[in-house]
Symmetry: C2
Subunit: 224 residues, 2 copies
């Protein structure tokens, strides 16, 4: 009976495409939209289209931006010789919030995941290699489509890259992606580092998992 209002079903299906939204939440959101004013609904629809059309990727670091270059890459105040590699734009926001990092970024837009069909060539690894070795002799992540795309980015970085900080998430996929990139970077003579694992500040040892604790012990540093 009353279940199959087609416009509502269609809207629910769209909400389900969002990360972490299940059937019940999607239906709840769709009902919320019904309670929007016409103006709000129109604004929502416009906001979706605007976000898609106005936001693109920075020509250098692949972070999202409304301009040719993102504000970090366009800044003279940043150290363009240090590149922090992250999975997505949200990681950039998180690191920027600390106000401690003065280098630039490289956004992979994902992690390598054969299970989900994400092969290295679907990420921006090729662009990263082009940034690190701007003499255009960069080994490519996807041998099949090697030539294209590397010249453009190579021209932008005047300062040579000295250090690449691999800051993918400490998950299985994030670790594997970091290892994969490290291997590709190793012949290029650049310093490659990985962010530290350990007990989160403010956390409780009791609730830390065994792997985190082991890493925290391994990564212990001298106090005196």
């Amino acid at each position: 009976m009353a279940e199959n209002l087609e416009p509502l079903e269609r809207l629910t299906d769209m909400f389900r495409k969002l990360d972490g939204v299940g059937k019940k939440s999607a239906a709840r959101y769709a009902f919320c939209v019904l309670n929007f004013t016409d103006e709000e609904a129109a604004e929502f629809a416009r906001a979706i289209i605007a976000a898609k059309t106005e936001i693109r990727r920075c020509a250098v670091c692949q972070n999202i931006t409304t301009d040719e270059l993102c504000s970090v890459c366009a800044s003279d105040a940043r150290d363009h010789g240090t590149v922090c590699v992250v999975e997505d734009p949200r990681a950039v926001l998180a690191i920027e919030k600390t106000r401690q990092y003065g280098g630039v970024y490289h956004v992979l837009h994902g992690t390598i995941s054969p299970m989900r069909g994400v092969t290295p060539d679907k990420l921006t690894i090729r662009e990263l290699l082009a940034r690190v070795s701007p003499r255009s002799d960069a080994p490519d992540s996807s041998p099949s489509q090697s030539a294209e795309g590397s010249e453009e980015e190579a021209g932008t970085g005047a300062e040579p890259v000295r250090e690449v900080i691999l800051a993918t998430n400490p998950t299985v996929e994030g670790e594997a992606t970091a290892m994969y990139i490290a291997k590709l970077l190793s012949p290029l003579g650049v310093k490659v580092t990985r962010i530290a694992n350990g007990v989160p500040v403010g956390g409780d040892l009791e609730y830390a998992d065994a792997v985190t604790l082991r890493r925290a012990m391994e990564g212990r540093y001298d106090l005196l």
Copy 2:
């Protein structure tokens, strides 16, 4: 720095208007939209507009529908003399799923909540009273705007209403709304009932709260 991409902020703000969506979820959803294809984004935008324009309220029960009457009100197989009063269309779906209820509905589209500025006249209580006493001598929920609106609905129900089941949620606001409506219905000589409270089937007494347990005890019934 990179935080203030205006189109992304605007889209995040729209997602925050959805029930139960906080700052972090809204940002996550907005980022998801960026990963949509252009076609998906366009479809999403269209779905929002379509839901708002194509879905309206049933002339009798106020449930959402794409036609003049909802499928329940339009059905000859339903008992139009029994009206189940619910807070929102989702409650109708939940009850319909049981396939046990043969009557019709009345959707209030909310509960009385002076705190949130929801006064009785913002709900469809007036339309409910008009259905129950179709002789158009219905006492009105909002005395200030009494005359208008009651004639239309009065004409639709050929069968007189015998029972009104108040099935608002067992929350403070739902209970208060049920009591308010019961008081308005009492002079109309119609049977007024309230759905039972108790321990949910499959639940565990250990996890039931004290009020629920007390209600379950009070509502106990003879087995032998």
